[in-house]
Symmetry: C2
């Protein structure tokens, strides 16, 4: 292993003195986050921007799941036409049947339906913000220099366009890959696996056929998923025809992944990869936790959470896990808000909240049992802890496939989990050293970057403020329609020219031959 580390030489320092970014000055940032787990990553960047002296205003719907006011940043709360019960009910629908039924292909359509119901509610919230004229005027008057938003919901990019302020997108990806489409990023279906296809980047012929079919299915789904977004967009601006078109005007895309997790594929110049932004900062464990995990001896301990949005499960399921944990030598820390059976094994500590990243950073952490959200996955990767995964919904199935493909995780279904399956998987993962070796290697690669993800996010947000966008990174493809983009008009034109020339040649030849034959005939006569 070689390397000079990252200690700046005199040459580098000279570069930063002569050139390099401009000196510190406070900028004005408007943030439109997406609720739920999406917010947890974005909050890290928001807090860092505040720390760097920027004036940050976060727009928060009065009814939300995880977004709260804070002393770290300013918030402005806007009214929405739905209650907390509506929101919770809507969200709980996403979890319907999760623990009982095996997933099927039809789930894709059910999930799309639920997603549309959820986003339609959010669209109504955005509509109410846009119609709140006093608030809109107040916002516009503040002279923001950048809108930081997660384009999973449309409100941020709409405000960016209405206020004529460049947008920085902060996202994991969008349903039916609208992010790639909007940013004109090529993704050949021959080696870029479609969401929900179960494919990796290496596909045989049937898998490539499936991938192509999924491509068509998703293109159709795009229309359904973004119908309400399109309507919202066209209601509020006359010069934009669709949400995709609006999205394409974004200045910069901060993507919450990298190629230790995703399969490598073409990328666009106006994107940066910030996967792992959430696992940089570590704190010491509270004394009781430190004592608990240190007491686990050589067997170490297991961390078990199903994400910020799922803190509970049916009693019967939980029992399977308790039984399983009673049969493994590791200690277990479990984020769980349900009933604990009286005879729960002594090696299990159940808590309502866990300092997940700090625990995974502990050298005795052996396995991370998780649902496969990118937040948790990156904490597993950063800290080099193999994962036992129970994908629940959304992109989690695909996420889990990526890690299983890399040999750093095992996958089980939550719907048919038994204590035997859990014990077998845990034993396999703790005895077979390859899981640990591979995730440590992945972790080393993930950490070995020229710029830390949080620093990179701040850099590009500030870049967009400094230069009022990132126009030099925007491809000219945005001004072409799909027919022109694929050069179909040019190919058609050249084909016509070619055929015409061939036809003319053929005509000439046949004319010549006929004349020759006639002359021959005449001569014979």
């Amino acid at each position: 292993m070689r390397g000079s580390g990252w200690f700046p030489t005199l040459g580098l320092l000279a570069w930063f003195c002569c050139f390099g970014p401009r000196p510190v000055e406070a900028g004005k940032v408007l943030v439109l986050p997406v609720d739920g787990s999406h917010w947890l990553s974005m909050k890290i960047l928001v807090k860092e921007l505040v720390q760097r002296g920027h004036d940050v205003l976060v727009l928060v719907p009065e009814t939300s799941l995880l977004i709260k006011s804070s002393e770290n940043y300013r918030t402005e709360i806007y009214q929405v036409p739905y209650s907390k019960e509506d929101l919770d009910g809507n969200f709980n629908e996403l979890k319907d049947g999760l623990f009982d039924k095996p997933p099927t292909m039809a789930d894709i359509f059910i999930n799309v339906e639920r997603l549309v119901t959820f986003t339609t509610m959010q669209v109504s919230g955005c509509e109410s913000l846009l119609r709140n004229q006093p608030l809109m005027t107040r916002l516009q008057e503040q002279g923001f220099e950048v809108v930081l938003t997660d384009p999973f919901l449309p409100c941020g990019s709409i405000l960016s366009h209405l206020f004529n302020v460049p947008a920085v997108y902060f996202l994991r990806g969008l349903p039916c890959e609208l992010d790639l489409k909007a940013n004109q990023c090529p993704a050949p279906p021959s080696y870029v696996p479609m969401a929900f296809s179960g494919n990796s980047d290496v596909m045989n012929f049937p898998q490539r056929v499936k991938n192509m079919l999924m491509y068509f299915v998703q293109s159709y789904m795009c229309k359904i998923i973004y119908r309400e977004f399109d309507r919202l967009v066209t209601r509020h601006m006359s010069d934009v025809q669709s949400y995709r078109e609006l999205l394409s005007r974004g200045a910069f895309w901060l993507l919450r992944y990298d190629f230790t997790f995703e399969y490598p594929r073409p990328v666009m110049p106006n994107t940066a990869f910030i996967g792992g932004i959430n696992c940089a900062k570590k704190a010491a464990l509270p004394a009781d936790l430190e004592e608990f995990v240190n007491g686990s001896g050589d067997d170490g301990f297991i961390v078990f959470t199903l994400g910020s949005m799922v803190e509970n499960m049916p009693e019967q399921k939980a029992k399977e896990f308790f039984t399983a944990f009673g049969q493994v030598p590791q200690r277990v820390l479990w984020r769980y808000n349900g009933a604990v059976p009286e005879n729960a094994p002594k090696n299990v500590k159940v808590m309502k909240w866990l300092p997940q990243n700090d625990l995974l950073a502990h050298p005795k952490a052996k396995v991370f049992i998780t649902h496969g959200g990118t937040h948790g996955i990156y904490e597993g990767i950063c800290n080099g802890v193999p994962m036992l995964m129970f994908p629940l919904f959304g992109d989690q199935g695909d996420n889990v496939n990526h890690l299983v493909h890399r040999g750093v995780a095992e996958r089980l279904g939550i719907y048919d989990v038994t204590s035997e399956k859990v014990v077998a998987a845990l034993k396999k993962m703790t005895h077979d050293k390859s899981y640990k070796e591979k995730i440590v290697k992945l972790s080393q690669i993930n950490q070995d970057r020229p710029v830390a993800p949080l620093e990179l996010s701040v850099f590009w947000t500030e870049f967009v403020m400094r230069h009022k966008g990132a126009e030099h990174l925007r491809v000219a493809a945005h001004d072409l329609n799909w027919f022109q983009y694929h050069s179909l008009d040019v190919i058609g034109f050249l084909a016509v020219v070619l055929l015409t020339v061939l036809w003319a040649l053929l005509k000439c030849c046949s004319c010549c031959i006929r004349r020759c034959l006639r002359t021959g005939k005449k001569k014979k006569e």
Copy 2:
């Protein structure tokens, strides 16, 4: 203008302590450079690697133009079957007719022919290295960890493959875009202009037709240009079929441009943009030069060079320039090795060598007269000096077009240059403030990067050493043939299935209709 600059926060420092690259340890680097101006940029990285404690060996052909031994790095000189006269003669051929004839479309073919003659000579040099068994054994025994090479010539990637050591490529680009092809980088001809097409990234229909035609021409030329490379490759390795295939195995590509100069387009994950690597370090001017340029008053001064390979021009041409310079208020510093007329104007200082970058960094530098090599162009961009350009050969015509398109340069032909044209262009560029404003803006964007180009180059070279390649950034497209890559087999299969289903449906329908009609007939009867 906002920004926190690049001052690491505690969070960033924490990140580098916990994660970040490994500590310093010396690595072994084998360098196979390309002679001429290519070497000037690569030398900067080579010296920096030495400075960081790496053991660097540069392989130098005994006959070369600019590559010399140095106390900074180790060199190993190998015999080649051509003399300095052969090389100079061969190189001078490239310059044939440069100052007399206007360039035409046919020049492309002449240039290709000259290029092939030049590279064939270099291939013979490589052949002689590969057949030098004692040297090859000695090299292999040194256990290099990375091969740093410019793939404009094939020897570096061949050694990388034979020694089983990962290769880092350092280049401006390759003829007929073999770099993009080999690295599976999509470049849609609808908005990515082809070399020699004269197009920008925004094209109307005829320009897109021309671009597509150039695409076909270049695909054909690729075969001619790389024929000798292909033969060399297949002679020395049995498991590689072509130079393109060999190139595709490179671990990382350091590209000597960025999108302040090139038009934005899709990029691959295993590439980094290091345009401007050559203009980071500046020194104070020698006293006589400092006095000369400071004495230029408010009018400032002009820097004039035609690159490292062209130090002279026909006397008549030179006279036009002398006459022109006598008519402008600026002082002129001219790198020129020819005869100076007796009545040469007083404001012109002719020198055999110029500290080009240090001069351009001087605040009184007003215009940079240059041929449009990327080295000089980036010194112009970094320092924000508008350029008057006389493209000579190779990619220079395209380079110049890029800058003219951005409004920071004017283009003149060296073959029909007159003093009037030069005076008019210089007056235009010094009076019209837009040239300066635009190049300053371009310069600010070019300098505003998260990592300095030299630092980035060192980082990725060391990364490849630390991880024995950059496998996680290599796309799976490399394992597909072009038919599979474009999913033509899948599309064909789906078309057959669709047609079969349609045909079966049609058959069924016609059968039903016939039966219905027959029943109706019977009933009537």
